[in-house]
């Protein structure tokens, strides 16, 4: 049953010839309906936005470290591109800071991580893993990517309109969002509607594919954990995004048709009663936003956990410990994540009963997360671990996500959140989860699946350089923020909290920020820029290896058990040379009595 490498190559060539003739460049690379091409499109675009969003923050870090000073080299550039009213003399104005901040969040979450973790990896890997020839709806898949591109273009264009991009944070709270005098918010909302549409189309496609197109023998409990993670993620997107879409439409009406969905009676803007009908509710926006917002954080983390699980199993050469617990945990997370959202709103004047409810559900949802992490840790036990680059990233993920998750608990208790809410502590918390957490897992995934996609390995040595530098600097960036936050430094301050600290220190008022805390801003910023430099090895390695990396000598260079490695390399249109038949679970490594230390899922 198991195709040898040679055979599959032959079959691939035969297959290629069938399809080759009719596809022109456009159909093949731009308007492709092939899940692999779409996955790569998402991947490249997502990585580009990851870099872009990161650059925005690198610029903002200058303003935080050295408020009011001209940004060297890039400052004049900004002034030339965006005008002297927003970046006069190369100094980042407060408005520009707000724009960059809001767009950093939006770009990172909606244009980078979700497209990478869900759409890119999901598109490329899920159909291969379940033994399917493509996604269930190839044309819908293409539409999903195009909608994403359209949404991103709108977001990017909004930087250049008069008044600049949206400034009310990625959370876009009303009435602030609609009161700020720029059309950036309108662009943001329209862009979001396209992005949401893209995610919805993707989610429908993923779920239908996983339900319908599993290869014969690929039962639910034989699915690799990555597929389970994507399955739950797709459900989160499918059901949590529409309420935000509804909210987005309403805020758009507020902005464009001057309705008052989220604007209360008697609202005054710049000291004047706003000419609106009133009667709306600002809190309604927050509820609808966080109804998406919290499931969204699991959209960011679950695919990462899936990647981690695959790479750990592969490099410990051991079955994953507690596969069933993983599956049930991820399902539990999926369900509970819909009923914890108001832990982001403890300070909006919720009553004690409802606060207690959300506090309780928040504590409950941390249990399955801990189970997942524990399973991964135990899976390491007694393995003869291969410390290659993907594995290093994944090993780092475990403690980093641990830190992120544990620091979430004090935020989940309403009494401690009163102190921590809206401080740098929150920033540190979720960045530990998404940066050295999700992004590290994504890097691991890139190094891991690169040979399947390109037929070449990425350079190991430079991979390790990338890893160690990133690990050190990312901790230097985010660890100090916990301290700053606990000391009371608020987030979203265009001067890094300097004004706040001076005002508070007058008369020795308790709560003022010490100079040491303010000075940490400089440390963090330097670490951030160093982190930026640390990505150069990756970027160069990535592009260099596409052409010049070491060629793989087998379709299964990591000696993995799962189906995606049973295709020719790179997989042709239609993926499998022979339709696979599955006989066993996904992680049969080092099974006693077998000739090799890995038993393929499609090995009879």
């Amino acid at each position: 049953m198991q195709p040898t490498t040679k055979e599959s190559h032959h079959a691939a060539e035969a297959h290629e010839e069938h399809h080759h003739e009719e596809l022109g460049f456009l159909r093949k690379y731009i308007f492709s309906t092939d899940h692999k091409v779409i996955g790569i499109q998402y991947g490249i675009t997502g990585l580009a936005f990851l870099f872009f969003g990161f650059c925005l923050m690198l610029l903002m870090r200058w303003q935080i470290a050295y408020p009011g000073r001209s940004i060297p080299f890039f400052g004049p550039l900004l002034e030339r591109m965006l005008g002297s009213d927003v970046a006069g003399g190369g100094v980042m104005s407060a408005n520009l800071y707000n724009s960059f901040g809001a767009m950093h969040g939006t770009i990172m979450v909606f244009l980078a991580i979700v497209p990478l973790a869900f759409a890119a990896f999901g598109n490329y890997v899920v159909p291969l893993m379940i033994g399917a020839p493509d996604m269930a709806f190839p044309r819908v898949n293409m539409a999903s990517y195009q909608s994403y591109v359209l949404g991103s273009i709108i977001m990017v264009v909004s930087f250049f309109i008069p008044g600049g991009a949206a400034q009310a944070g990625w959370t876009s709270y009303s009435p602030l969002a609609t009161s700020i005098d720029t059309n950036g918010q309108t662009f943001w909302l329209i862009g979001m509607i396209f992005l949401i549409t893209s995610s919805l189309l993707g989610a429908v496609n993923f779920i239908a594919t996983i339900i319908q197109l599993r290869a014969p023998g690929m039962t639910w409990m034989r699915l690799p954990f990555f597929v389970w993670a994507q399955f739950v993620t797709a459900f989160l997107l499918l059901l949590a995004f529409p309420p935000l879409e509804a909210a987005g439409v309403m805020q758009l009406m507020d902005k464009v048709a001057h309705t008052s969905f989220f604007l209360p009676t008697g609202l005054s803007v710049s000291g004047q009663i706003a000419p609106i009908s009133g009667g709306g509710s600002p809190l309604l926006w927050q509820h609808l936003f966080w109804f998406l917002g919290h499931p969204e954080v699991y959209v960011l983390i679950l695919p990462a956990m899936g990647i981690v699980c695959e790479i750990i199993a592969n490099n410990t050469r051991k079955p994953i410990w507690g596969y069933k617990s993983l599956v049930y945990s991820v399902l539990a997370i999926g369900f509970i994540s819909f009923i914890v959202w108001a832990h982001h709103m403890y300070l909006t004047g919720m009553g004690t009963k409802i606060s207690t409810f959300f506090q309780t559900t928040t504590m409950i949802i941390s249990i399955p997360s801990v189970i997942i992490l524990t399973c991964m840790f135990i899976s390491l036990w007694g393995g003869s671990i291969r410390f290659n680059t993907p594995m290093l990233f994944v090993l780092a993920f475990l403690p980093m996500f641990g830190i992120g998750g544990l620091t979430g608990l004090p935020l989940g208790f309403n009494f401690s959140d009163i102190h921590l809410h809206d401080t740098y502590y929150v920033i540190a918390h979720f960045h530990y989860v998404v940066a050295p957490g999700t992004i590290f897992a994504l890097f691991g995934g890139v190094y891991y699946w690169f040979p399947k996609i390109t037929g070449r390995m990425m350079n190991e040595w430079w991979g390790k350089v990338h890893f160690w530098l990133s690990l050190v600097f990312i901790n230097l960036v985010f660890q100090p923020m916990f301290a700053q936050g606990m000391a009371g430094m608020l987030r979203r301050m265009s001067d890094g909290g300097v004004n706040y600290s001076m005002a508070q220190n007058q008369g020795g008022v308790i709560g003022g920020l010490s100079d040491a805390m303010i000075h940490l801003n400089v440390t963090v910023s330097h670490a951030a820029w160093a982190l930026g430099l640390a990505q150069l090895p990756f970027i160069i390695n990535f592009f260099w290896s596409i052409k010049n990396g070491r060629k793989v000598t087998s379709d299964n260079p990591w000696e993995s058990t799962t189906l995606e490695w049973q295709t020719p390399t790179p997989p042709p249109h239609g993926n499998f040379a022979h339709a696979p038949q599955v006989f066993r679970g996904p992680y049969e490594y080092s099974v006693p009595g077998k000739p090799r230390d890995f038993t393929l899922q499609n090995e009879a």
């Binding site: 059901l239 509820h287 109804f291």
Partner: protein, 102 residues
């Protein structure tokens, strides 16, 4: 396909009955609305009750939910769960706020 030709004919009859019921339901909604129940709660309840029945008819018969596959039920049940969560928790949250102790 002949095996269900007969079934289809039977369903067609059912569709027409449902159609009639929906027409009646609509007229009823409007008629009942003209009645003064002296209570907003009852008025709302009656209107929504009729609407729900109509919705069940459409979903059950026109959309064939009466005998659909388990998978579809599963999807819809979880959707219902989350929808109720959204509505109920939001309404609860907006009506539970701290008050000064007396």
């Amino acid at each position: 396909m002949s095996h269900d030709a007969h079934d289809i004919q039977k369903s067609v009859r059912r569709y027409l009955i449902v159609f009639g019921a929906l027409l009646v339901g609509t007229i009823l909604t409007v008629a009942v609305n003209a009645v003064n129940f002296h209570s907003i709660a009852i008025t709302v309840a009656v209107a929504l009750f009729i609407a729900t029945i109509k919705a069940f008819l459409v979903a059950g018969y026109f959309m064939h939910l009466i005998d659909e596959k388990k998978m579809i039920y599963g999807i819809l049940a979880s959707t219902g769960f989350f929808f109720i969560g959204l509505m109920w928790l939001t309404i609860w949250a907006m009506h539970d706020f701290p008050t000064l102790a007396k």
